[in-house]
């Protein structure tokens, strides 16, 4: 074969590019392949950051991470990555990877063998169990853990140790969405899917900075608006964010005072004839939260919520509410999306209900382009914790510990006795850490999360966390939690283990193991199985040889349930880009809209001519709630006149254990800061880069000011990522009475020049 130099160069460039993206070389001659690209194997995986569920291909060469690229076959992201996912491969080999077990001796963490570390954990846990009973132990997991990991932990703690003190960080971010979905529709998780985005003509974004928190979904919304410029974007949020770039209307509300707006919108929808009366008649009932009420009662309830009243509550113009309501009413389709701005509130469940209300009133549900869609913050909060039952009141497969039949069903699968599973819910997250603080809980196992930075009102809990026998499995060290732990166990990171994640749209996806874990790290599941064996439960765990064994047992818990995943074994998940439940058999394609005719659980005989049948509710009818317009737990006052709200930035994720290791991401915003409205800054004599002291009733923090027209006047915004500047010293740990989710989004604060 003879080729010219010019042809060689051209072919080399093309071949290198082809190899880099994991496709067959453009020319057949392998001799032209660039040496650096040869031997790269691309593995199908899913991003381990937010809850969008983007497909990521991880390239491995010579047993080491080579790079990442978006998975173009995955319909969630179609090959696109956000800036954080762009660096996932760098996180695998980050300098702060934890490579060996450590135990605390004489106050210091020192290297130990796995055997020594696990013997210590098992012996201390057994000692606590014998002396103080099962409820002196607790497990605190993560929406980043794989379903198999959460399933094993749930099984061990609830089914064998015998405590329902099993929680996870989704309590801090998604519990209110769960409460909203269950109370309004009868079942957790959205009715529709991301596919609705491409059919939607109005996006109502409430308490979500989609551009920064869910960048790839934002990209899809941008694309939708670009292709169909008539698509409207309406935002309800206390802050202007990068999402505002595509907004048609922004209701910039006072933090914590938006419930009345949703009622006012509902009132206008009814008064101006935008409701779907047939849908209401067929598929909706009304409730005041305690008792059933009539449609007329509901209308009477709404009379209080004039645009003027709601606008006064929220500190906006009444015409903005009227405009928003009319846009919603006139739009043929509508998706409301929300995140922490709705959920992390003492009225989080109520606000979820009120969002569902306007979709139920207008019938904008269960059809292409319309849904009431909660965006999840973590990659497996839905899959592992919500579906897997990794909270103190739940059992796998959307079951409850309080239900005797549910306990029997799960006990049989778990090979334990129903009596071993307590019928009373354990301690929810805040109660659990109160138990840690007051000594009721004496041994705590933390998996893949960092509560010493992420809990609200941190000063209240940190000492207790230092005093308790604290065990943590982590891929990184130090974190704020690993620094105070008694035993730190190194575990495999993304790409080093296989498992399943379930994202915001009910889609379960398989993540391949592409690499050997670094150092002495093990799969979290093996650590839990080892702990079970050392505590004397080996006979009930030794059949789990692989993550697939765990998944197969988990699938049994979903059979016949609303989240049926029977048709999603590993063999199938490895081939496809996820499946959206219910997927009751291996030939089923998965479900688009639940509670409609396309849903395999849709009872056609009962539904008759009804378009939607909410089969998890009596008579198949969803509930419109007349909830009070509850404000924040801690309104501003003379002493604390400023509203503090917290949140995220694009380039960082949670407590920075991963993204904080990537220099490029750190470059975007190198230091902690607080956003201050220019009018406030002028009044307070503060300029950008001045140091300011922020004080709430719970503590003080000094941080750099960024004067910027983003938060509304009288509100400051404090990102929570930086471990050297613990935002959660300031936040309040008051919780929603239903969901037990804390109100991270609103606290009363004062600001002084430091």
């Amino acid at each position: 074969m003879s080729i010219s130099r010019r042809e060689f160069l051209k072919a080399s460039a093309l071949t290198a590019a082809a190899a880099a993206i994991g496709v067959e070389p453009l020319l057949n001659s392998k001799t032209l392949a660039a040496a650096a690209q040869e031997g790269v194997i691309w593995h199908k995986s899913v991003c381990r950051l937010c809850g969008a569920g983007c497909g990521v291909m991880l390239g491995v060469k010579d047993g080491k991470p080579f790079g990442v690229r978006g998975d173009k076959e995955n319909t969630i992201n179609a090959g696109i990555l956000c800036v954080k996912a762009f660096y996932l491969h760098k996180m695998i080999t980050a300098k702060n990877r934890l490579l060996y077990p450590m135990v605390r001796k004489d106050g210091k963490l020192v290297r130990a063998s796995w055997d020594e570390a696990m013997n210590l954990v098992a012996s201390r846990f057994k000692e606590i169990l014998e002396k103080h009973g099962p409820d002196a132990l607790a497990y605190y997991g993560s929406g980043q853990a794989q379903t198999e990991e959460t399933y094993l932990a749930n099984r061990l703690f609830k089914g064998f140790i015998g405590t329902n003190n099993v929680e996870g960080n989704p309590r801090l971010c998604m519990a209110s969405a769960v409460g909203g979905y269950i109370s309004s529709f009868g079942a957790d998780e959205p009715i529709g899917t991301y596919d609705d985005i491409e059919h939607c003509e109005l996006f109502l974004l409430v308490g979500t900075n989609t551009a920064e928190a869910h960048p790839v979904l934002y990209d899809r919304i941008v694309s939708r608006k670009k292709k169909h410029p008539s698509t409207k974007i309406v935002i309800i949020d206390p802050r202007k964010t990068p999402t505002n770039r595509i907004a048609d209307l922004h209701l910039q509300v006072k933090p914590g005072y938006d419930l009345a707006i949703m009622h006012a919108i509902a009132r206008i929808l009814i008064k101006e004839g935008f409701t779907d009366e047939q849908f209401i008649k067929d598929s909706v009932v009304f409730s005041d939260g305690k008792d059933p009420i009539s449609y007329d009662d509901y209308k009477t309830f709404l009379e209080k919520y004039t645009p003027e009243y709601a606008a006064e509550q929220a500190g906006i113009n009444p015409s903005e509410i009227v405009q928003a309501a009319r846009i919603f009413g006139q739009s043929p389709t509508a998706m409301t999306m929300w995140t922490m701005g709705v959920n992390q509130r003492v009225a989080g469940v109520f606000l979820n209900n009120l969002i569902h209300n306007i979709h139920l009133l207008t019938g904008k549900l269960g059809k292409p382009g319309s849904d009431s869609f909660s965006l999840t913050g973590q990659p497996n909060a839905c899959g592992g914790v919500r579906e897997g039952g990794g909270l103190c009141h739940l059992l796998p497969g959307h079951r409850s510990v309080e239900n005797e039949q549910h306990r029997k069903e799960i006990a049989e699968i778990w090979m334990t006795t129903p009596e071993k599973i307590q019928p009373k819910p354990g301690k929810h997250t805040i109660a659990m850490f109160e138990g840690v603080a007051n000594g009721d809980i004496k041994g705590l196992f933390v998996l893949c999360t960092n509560p010493a930075q992420s809990l609200p009102n941190l000063n209240k809990y940190l000492k207790g966390m230092s005093d308790v026998f604290l065990v943590i499995t982590e891929s990184f060290h130090p974190t704020e939690t690993s620094k105070i732990a008694d035993v730190v166990l190194p575990v495999a990171f993304w790409g080093e283990k296989e498992g399943v994640y379930g994202c915001s749209e009910r889609r379960s996806q398989h993540l391949a193991k592409a690499l050997k874990p670094m150092g002495e790290a093990l799969w979290d599941g093996d650590v839990l199985i080892d702990l079970a064996k050392r505590m004397g439960y080996g006979a009930y765990f030794e059949h789990f040889k692989t993550p697939e064994d765990v998944w197969n047992e988990y699938l049994k818990t979903t059979k016949g349930k609303g989240l049926d995943l029977t048709g999603a074994p590993y063999e199938r998940l490895k081939k496809v880009r996820g499946l959206r439940w219910p997927v009751p058999n291996v030939n089923h394609p998965g479900t688009g809209h639940r509670f409609t005719e396309g849903d395999p659980l849709f009872p056609k005989d009962k539904a008759g001519s009804r378009r939607m049948y909410f089969y998890a509710k009596p008579e198949g009818k969803a509930v419109i709630f007349a909830r009070p317009d509850k404000g924040p737990e801690e309104p501003t006052s003379a002493d604390y006149p400023i509203a503090l709200t917290t949140g995220r930035i694009l380039e960082q994720w949670h407590t920075m254990t991963m993204t904080g290791q990537v220099p490029e991401l750190v470059r975007a915003n190198p230091n902690p800061y607080v956003e201050i409205n220019p009018d406030d800054a002028k009044a307070w004599g503060i300029s950008s880069r001045d140091k300011v002291k922020l004080t709430t009733k719970r503590g003080s923090l000094t941080v750099e000011a960024k004067v910027i027209d983003r938060p509304r006047k009288g509100t400051i915004f404090l990102p929570w990522h930086w471990p050297e500047s613990l935002t959660n010293i300031l936040t309040i740990d008051a919780v929603d009475p239903g969901s037990k989710e804390p109100e991270y989004k609103v606290a009363a604060c004062k600001v002084e020049k430091a």
């Binding site: 160069l9 051209k10 460039a13 093309l14 590019a17 082809a18 880099a20 993206i21 994991g22 496709v23 453009l26 650096a36 390239g59 060469k61 991470p65 080579f66 790079g67 990442v68 690229r69 978006g70 173009k72 179609a78 090959g79 696109i80 990555l81 800036v83 762009f86 491969h89 760098k90 080999t93 551009a211 920064e212 960048p215 934002y218 990209d219 941008v222 990068p242 770039r245 595509i246 694009l650 380039e651 220099p663 490029e664 991401l665 750190v666 470059r667 975007a668 915003n669 190198p670 230091n671």
Partner: protein, 130 residues
């Protein structure tokens, strides 16, 4: 922030940008930093976009109005963090981290680089707006 020396060095830097798209740290961890690529010493406590908005407003504006700017695909994606990693010119592997689906067009166009067609920070085709 020491803006005077920065202004001089940034002018040099801007001239380097004139050739088109600068950069990429990319999706490939094996890329090496060419020795001549060095970002001017600046106040590193300021974020890249924040500083460039003031110091190189035209470049910032071009990026900000581009599709990458719209979805906040920041400077660092292509240029690196400036300290540990800095790239003056983009490498296609970085683009292909997201735009793998564009490979077919790339082949058909018979060009060597994404940047043979896509212009600087605007990312538009060269012949657009002319």
């Amino acid at each position: 922030m020491k803006k005077t020396p920065y202004l001089i060095t940034s002018l040099i830097f801007v001239s380097l940008l004139a050739a088109g798209f600068v950069t990429n740290s990319g999706n490939n961890s094996t890329q090496q930093l060419p020795p001549k690529d060095k970002h001017p010493e600046v106040d590193w406590s300021i974020g890249c976009a924040e500083c460039h908005e003031e110091m190189t407003p035209k470049v910032f504006q071009e990026w900000n109005e581009s599709r990458h700017g719209q979805v906040n695909f920041g400077c660092y994606i292509c240029h690196g963090d400036g300290q540990e990693v800095f790239y003056k010119k983009g490498k296609d592997e970085g683009c292909l981290g997201c735009h793998a689906a564009q490979e077919v067009n790339y082949k058909q166009l018979k060009v060597k680089s994404c940047f043979d067609c896509h212009n600087g920070h605007t990312l538009k085709f060269h012949n657009e707006n002319k």
